[in-house]
Symmetry: C2
DNA sequence: CGTGATTTTGGGAACGGTTTCATAAATATT
DNA sequence: AATATTTATGAAACCGTTCCCAAAATCACG
């Protein structure tokens, strides 16, 4: 099985170039200067034989695997995937290849995944969100170079790539307020996630700053998914508190809200305005196109990857805090 | 850097269990029977020291890396990601870890990615769609165990996991036809993709079988993305040929179509019916919810992974051809 | 041109496992 | 009970690199 490849080793190159394997290794890694003629001879041999160093042997000897582990959460949820794409892009051209393991936002599965990754001697780790407590991640960070994506851990300065959720939520709420809405509901993500907490905080602050009192009946907890959006509308209607705008903590939930409203014959944005969060690719194509808070997802992933690589090379790298951007489309309009 | 881990080796275990490292290796791999007492001693030592075999050393010695390469295309496009999720699930619990490399549907980038993967001594390869010609993939398949996902290569029987696109498209078109539509347009994906070709074939066959003549003005080529959906509607309107239903070759394009119609004030499904293809997660939440052809994306990925693992273990595995399922929602209705 | 300092180079010991092989012990056979 | 066979074990070779160290070659300089 898979027999035909990887026959030629550094020894073959050495023989053909009439040098020792040490020398071959040296020209390949540029460790030490080697005579020009030998260098070209080696390079020639490498080309002739189409030699490819054995990654595992190299890894064993050098004590590094040239891989980075990526702990993903729920791959196939649109936002996460965009970040993942960024990671792939950030890693491209860097010698490092990514090994994936999915945690699915389930604590024990995350532990399992990290275990797998570490056992594989990954040189570094990119950790996505997740349920794993800050403390555990800090411990981990002591063992292996690590960057956290989409989550802020205070004790790991300059190792976290995240977006200012508070500001984003503030911005969205403020926008609605400025449009004249006063009864603005906020549909939160799962409140066990820091992101959701921060967004809620941003919403509240904006309300307060605008001189509005907080009505807890206007806050509904969802779980970031579409279905929780439709549920939320039903809850809201049941509560009977009037509202004219909904700020959803994720675009997916906004979709759900939109559908529930559609079912009830409530027009968007004429009767109720909606603002989402994330700016997924399809949000520009909903009816009406969704006004939402954009997170630079790809950029976040890319930065995480680049930061990790820099860390591995002992190069300095400063991770910026990313800001959100309000993308105004058509799902929200002036009230009255 | 990353100093503190992987200190304990098989030697330490051997010493602690008072056996040779050969024996340790044997109990760990179950290669040969070893005396019960020694076995437990070894296991105990492993547990005590929390020993984890060095994957690279093992790989070097045994000539396998316990990794499989995954050539992805455009990670972060919803359908692909679902398949990817399946791959991750299918690999879980199998000793193999996935290494990703993205080809982005760009030939040279695919070659580059495959190169990277092979150089890493992956034990097997999962290839997603892509632009790489069949021939190249066949060659590759001769060098390394390989499974193709979402694409059918005739010369690689039982190594391709794909869906019957023809039947799916036929089904969708037939459904529209049975609803009384006669002027049914088909918005295709990029026609350089086999998938798109097959779906077009299915559409045509259904039209013919229904006694309708093919009007090439009713076929528009898109590129699977949302934007091409809105463009298509404009093209169609420009052509001036009347139509009452649109079968889009992807849900994303269906979204675009929906939006374009919305902009023109054309009601869906009252005036124009829409059927999509894929059944993305959000398609159940569009307004109206999208009637579409479901592909078992996750299942496809999972099967690909399982088939590859079976192949690597020299176990028999028969890959089924997956069938699509028409998911009737609300974007299509009876004509007249 | 000889000598010491410096650069290149090759030999060989790691790296941490697996696997072959020979041997000692246990078991089966007659 | 003696011999043949099988089974369990450890020693050592090997996988393909990197890298330390010492030898060889080159260079600088008086």
């Amino acid at each position: 099985m898979a027999a035909t490849r990887q026959n030629i080793t550094i020894k073959d190159i050495a023989r053909r170039a009439k040098v020792s394997k040490s020398t071959v290794s040296r020209v390949l890694n540029g460790t030490t200067a080697v005579a020009e003629e030998k260098k070209t001879a080696v390079l020639q041999a490498v080309a002739d034989l189409n030699y490819q160093p054995n990654v595992m042997a190299r890894g064993l000897a050098a004590g590094q695997s040239l891989t980075v582990g990526v702990l993903t959460q729920n791959i196939s949820s649109p936002y996460n995937d965009a970040v993942l794409l960024g990671v792939l892009q950030g890693l491209r051209g860097s010698d490092y290849s990514p090994i994936f393991a999915d945690g699915s936002w389930i604590l024990e599965q995350e532990e399992q995944a990290i275990q797998t990754l570490v056992a594989r001697q990954v040189d570094g780790l990119i950790v996505f969100g997740g349920e794993t407590p800050d403390e555990t991640i800090c411990d981990l960070a002591r063992q292996v170079p690590l960057v956290v994506a989409g989550r802020n851990i205070a004790k790991l300065p300059n190792q976290c790539v995240y977006v200012n959720n508070f500001a984003g939520a503030y911005q969205a709420t403020q926008y609605l307020l400025e449009l004249g809405h006063e009864r603005v509901v906020h549909l939160t993500g799962k409140l066990s996630h820091v992101d959701a907490q921060e967004r809620l905080r941003g919403y509240r602050q904006a309300m307060i700053d605008h001189g509005l009192s907080l009505d807890e009946e206007l806050v509904v907890e969802g779980n970031f998914q579409e279905q929780s959006g439709v549920l939320a509308v039903e809850t809201l209607l049941l509560r009977g508190r009037p509202f004219t705008a909904i700020f959803a903590g994720s675009d997916q939930m906004a979709y759900g809200v939109r559908l529930a409203l559609y079912r009830r014959g409530i027009r968007v944005p004429a009767e109720v305005s909606i603002v989402g969060f994330d700016d997924l690719g399809s949000s520009a194509y909903t009816t009406p196109p969704l006004t939402t808070v954009r997170q630079p997802a790809v950029k976040i992933g890319q930065t995480a990857a680049e930061a990790l690589v820099a860390m591995l090379k002992n190069e300095p790298y400063i991770i910026p805090v990313f800001q959100t951007e309000l993308i105004v489309r058509e799902s929200a309009m002036r009230y009255r």
